[in-house]
Symmetry: C2
Subunit: 416 residues, 2 copies
């Protein structure tokens, strides 16, 4: 099914395709890997390890064994972990909403204190490494938190810039961080970057929103890891600087798994205090099913190796097509991610939006140009986010052709 | 196992019981009624009616068939219903948080407009019929919404008082309503009450938080129903006045089911806009399991009849003990609920707190005295909330004895 090299945009358009590469959705084959969660739900039953009846109310911070699994995976103690509902995104939203409405804990020696609610502090801002995750930016925009873009490099955000901004502007209360295989640039944040984030002077109520979304989502041969941010913050005397979020949505069932929050004792108590007002507890039956299916870190890693076997060929296919079609084209580049769900394709300035339009006209849905930037505004109109996970391998190959041809046509039009 | 009539508080204390009557938790036998949700999860599979793969992201407003089930149960159209996560409490919390942060839709003819965010309007308040649900009041307290107590009567809140307050105080933005078998008084709100709530002049951003928690939770022979509040509000020209919340937690699995929000088109669009920022969607597999297990309204009603068969004898046992021990005691009364999860026991003024203490000293955990009032403050220190659902029937009988004996001792001490 490899299309002929002579394929051009017009011929591609005539294929009348309907392909969606816009979101990082797992493929049906990936979801099949966890089918036992559905097929063998009866085996998991409803009794927790200690006999607790998971069919009833209670355990506001989650099933103990679900917290322990999170602790093992995230490298913290179970007391530092909350096992919650089906979405880490909502934990991030709610953490920001709680901060706006109630403030966050601030360290004052032995004393527990809380900052002024962020909403009452007037204009507040978050640092947003770009390109970044559109849903992070949507939360800030919806909640009225000003976003300040910071350039992303291969080893994380431009730390000189981050430090200078945080030093000079006390209204900066937080920063979005996807430390491993950053969405969508694939950046792997270096030890030095993380140490600087942990140690830099910042407002006492400054928080790193640490979205460890791809911690086990390796594509390369090596299972890479970033520096332990909790330890780095603690070592720098800023133990409560980081709120870590993670989810099993891209491990088992997308939107049908559960999420964790991991944080220092004051942040955790703060979270528990405010979330206990919202809910009597998460769906513990689903947590129990997951713990019995995944078992432990080794179980998760074995499952992720099977995800990799399905995902890697798709990423390789995009890479091969881009190399064949776009190699050597001036102003065009892309990254070869070692993990995560996205490829970033950089078009010559002013070509991204038109590429997405041309792709759409050929039946190929891409993430809107600019989506990876605060307020949807890519100042160079250059960045494209490619999500190869969902379509079948043949379709991914075809879609990559379509993207390349759309980009080449956009460049041609601009030259014309 | 009926205790001897000669049992007194001291002898009761020597029984060394450990009984918890503090929360409205279903009993294991009630949870067993929905065991097929666990045992036959594999049969429900993962394909929605239209073939949608419920294992993947999407359907932010819930599975269409889960919305339709909600529509059938709540008497609205499916377009007016969102099927969400495992807790209606969190829908209520988030609705209030969204209103504080973003404002709510206000009717201006054909124009869609949004009020000033409640947080930016300064002091705002909610009406709280008392006795009421402690978790409602906790949400207001946590979010800094002033609570104004309004007396509850058998046919709903004192409407003269409600209308007078709402007319004179524009800072009143909402009201907590449990229209059928009110928690914890068992009140059944009359048609006239509901019509007055629907029609009374109020701030344009005033909302009835309509917690239809016990809509199908009948204890009597008759399946009672309250007036259609959506229709009443629409008839009065206030179609967007009401936000209705409901949950399957006390139908199937407590904390492991799902919840609905039902509202007019502007409120619903407002909800969808803000909740889409938080989450990519609810756990649709759980919704699918529920729809296949419950099927339709008839399926829910049949299941609720089996709940009633388990619950009714417990309520009857409490009633019998109270009649035997407390009948004719001056200043003591209780209600005989026709549905719901609670009995309200009214002690002579100044005796409730002491009764709870005495019960605790005898190994019997009751809801803290005052919990059913804003800020935990029962001005008469008279109200006790009894939750007979969880313990086994024999234990309920024994616990009712303990409550009665604790109350009698508290009265005696006071006289002493």
């Amino acid at each position: 099914m490899s299309p002929p090299v002579a394929l051009n945009y017009e011929r591609f358009q005539q294929l009348n395709l309907r392909l969606d590469m816009s979101r990082g959705k797992p493929s049906p084959e990936q979801l099949d890997l966890s089918q036992a969660l559905i097929d063998e739900a009866a085996l998991a039953g409803h009794r927790a390890r200690d006999g607790f009846d998971c069919r009833n109310y209670g355990l506001a911070s989650g099933l103990p064994e679900a917290r322990e699994l999170g602790a093992e995976l995230l490298g913290v103690s179970a007391a530092q972990v909350v096992a919650a509902g089906n979405s880490s995104l909502e934990l991030m939203h709610d953490a920001l909403a709680f901060a706006l409405l109630h403030g966050v804990p601030v360290a004052t020696g032995e004393e527990a204190a809380t900052s002024t609610p962020w909403r009452a502090q007037g204009d507040i801002a978050f640092l947003c490494p770009v390109p970044g995750y559109d849903r992070h930016f949507a939360i800030c925009e919806a909640l009225g938190v000003r976003m300040i873009a910071v350039p992303m490099r291969d080893d994380g955000p431009d730390m000189d810039r981050v430090e200078a901004l945080v030093r000079s502007d006390a209204s900066i209360k937080g920063m979005w961080c996807v430390p491993l295989y950053s969405n969508p640039s694939g950046a792997i944040w270096s030890d030095a970057t993380i140490r600087r984030l942990a140690a830099m002077p910042a407002a006492p109520d400054f928080r790193l929103f640490w979205d460890d979304a791809y911690r086990f989502h390796h594509l390369g041969d090596e299972a890479l890891a970033t520096l332990d941010v909790h330890a780095a913050c603690a070592a720098a005397g800023n133990a409560e600087r980081v709120l870590m979020f993670a989810s099993l949505s891209k491990v088992t069932i997308a939107g049908g798994a559960f999420a964790w929050l991991a944080a220092g004792p004051r942040n955790l108590a703060w979270w528990q205090r405010h979330s206990a007002i919202r809910t009597i507890g998460p769906d513990k039956l689903n947590q129990l099913r997951h713990v019995r299916f995944l078992r432990d870190r080794a179980g998760v890693l074995a499952l992720m190796a099977r995800h990799r076997a399905l995902l890697k060929p798709k990423f390789d296919a995009v890479e091969a097509v881009f190399r064949a079609r776009l190699g050597g084209i001036e102003g065009v580049s892309w990254n070869t991610p070692r993990g995560g769900y996205f490829i970033s394709l950089y078009a010559p300035e002013g070509c991204a939006r038109r590429t997405v339009e041309l792709a759409a006209a050929a039946g190929l849905v891409l993430t809107p140009a600019g989506a990876a930037f605060p307020y949807g505004d890519d100042p160079r109109d250059s960045h494209l986010r490619i999500a190869p996970s969902f379509p079948a391998l043949d379709e991914v190959r075809l879609a990559a052709e379509g993207i390349a041809l759309s980009l080449l046509k956009a460049i041609e039009e601009r030259r014309g």
